[in-house]
Each structure stands twice: as C-alpha cells, then as structure tokens.
Symmetry: C2
Subunit: 155 residues, 2 copies
C-alpha cells in the first residue's frame, strides 16, 4: 500500500492536526491545562494579539475542544473550559513537555516538575502498552491498514 | 506565580513547538515513522511543494531530528533518517493518532491498527505513571515550578 494512493484525509494524525496543528493553538491548550480560562489571562500569558487569540478560541469552541461558559452577566463575560474531548489532548501536551525537558532544556534544567497525586511521586508519564504494560519502543509497533483504510482502498 | 511573569521561553511545550509546532513538520515526522526517508516519497505522500518540504527538512536536520545520510553518489542523493532525538517524538505522534481515532474518525472507523510486537496484541499505547503504573488522568497531576523556573524567578 502506498500512502500517496490513500491520501491524508484518511489519517488520524492529519485529522488531529486540522484541529491542533498550530503552535498558538497548542500554547492555548497548554495554558488551559495549567488552569487558565479567561480571554485576558490567555492573552497576557501567551502574548498573542486579541485578533489571533479570538480566532483560535472560536475555532476550538467550534471543534468542541473548549466549552464557552458564561461566568458573569452585565456585562456578559465568558470563560473557556476544556471539554471531555479537550481534556483528552493531555497526552499530546505532556509528550511535548517531556521531549522539550529532555532535548531542549537549558543549563538551568527542567522548567516544571510533575507530581502524580495518586502515588505522590515526582514523575514524568510514560507511554506503555495497555496489554503487557511494557514501555513502548516505536520499533516494536507494527502498523496495519485499519477499517477506514481498507474501505478507502475498496472504493 | 503568574505565567506572564516568566514568559514562554522557560516552557518546554513552547520550546518543543519551536521545533515541531507546525502541521507540515508533524506530517513529515509521521511519514518518517511509517518508513519514509526520501525527498520524493515525502513529497508524494504529503502533497507539499518542493520548496516547503525542503525548508522543513532542512530545519529538522538543523534541529537534529533527522540525520541527512548519503545513499547514492553520482548523482549524490540523500535520505532523511530519524535520529535518536527524532525517534523520541513518537509519543507526540501516537497521541495525535489516538485522539484523531477517538474523536475524528468517520463512519469507516480507525484508519490504522497498531500491533505491539512484544506481546502480539492489537493496542493503542496509554500514558501511565512510571512509579505506580496507573493510567494518567490530568486531574491527578500537580505542576510545580522546577529548577529553570526557580532560576528565572530569582534573576
């Protein structure tokens, strides 16, 4: 099977990137995981123009990554809360943290430390196999055409 | 601590995004994990212009994500192989796959299936705690200033 014959429209990476494949968008989502909810807070943290921030937030509401919730009336004010779908972006964000910590930290070391409250340890999450619990090495993964690729081939 | 007081230069997400915070770059890396190594193959799979592809590949070589290796002389031809640093981007790519599979798949289902060769099971990797092996829920993670943030504050 050649990838070029199928096309990027039947690829989950490509589909995910159509929602979060933008640096500003991922910085907004990072800040949301650190507790930020309000327009002005996103703006001051990330240093984006109002126009660009508004564009990205609207798109993320449209894509159901954020719920836009009124927290004040007169004047009406909204905040942006990660939806269920949004919260499941966490592995993407933490994987960016982990890679940056390892390969791009300066001489001062890691910017942040992470505590897993459940066990109390200072850790950085790992990608493991849910069947055998071993840590995943990309070399040990085989990729096969799934139902959507098979359907695309047969069309 | 207010994020705005520290700034995005002391953030591992922001640092990682300075290397891979671009849709085209992440599509190139995805293709590399599927085995693609040559310019013309990246081009036909992703459907990028030569100019844009060349720009992204050069940047990824500069950032040590790819090793540029001669595979033919007369005429000289190079291929792009994921370095150690590049291979460690796998959790980011697989997390994009997982999110896309769950939230953006069409009626035909998942595009691809993943087999973990070590145990032979069809799986999708999970983010777990290396100390207690539990699956990570973002709500159970506490973030604290690490050495680089502390150093930035004290400057």
């Amino acid at each position: 099977m050649r990838w070029a014959d199928i096309g990027d429209e039947v690829c989950s990476v490509s589909r995910s990137l159509s929602v979060v494949g933008d640096k500003w968008t991922l910085l907004i989502i990072r800040s949301a995981f650190l507790g930020t909810r309000r327009f002005s807070d996103f703006q001051s943290e990330i240093g984006m123009t109002r126009h660009r921030l508004s564009d990205r937030l609207n798109k993320l509401v449209e894509e159901q990554v954020f719920d836009k919730v009124e927290y004040q009336n007169n004047p009406v004010r909204y905040e942006y809360r990660l939806s269920e779908r949004g919260k499941e972006l966490y592995p993407i964000i933490i994987s960016l943290v982990k890679w940056g910590d390892k390969w791009l930290a300066g001489e001062d070391g890691k910017p942040m430390e992470y505590i897993h409250n459940t066990c109390g340890n200072k850790v950085m999450p790992t990608l493991t196999c849910p069947a055998c619990t071993e840590e995943i090495n990309p070399r040990d993964m085989t990729v096969l055409p799934g139902p959507a690729i098979k359907a695309a081939i047969s069309k």
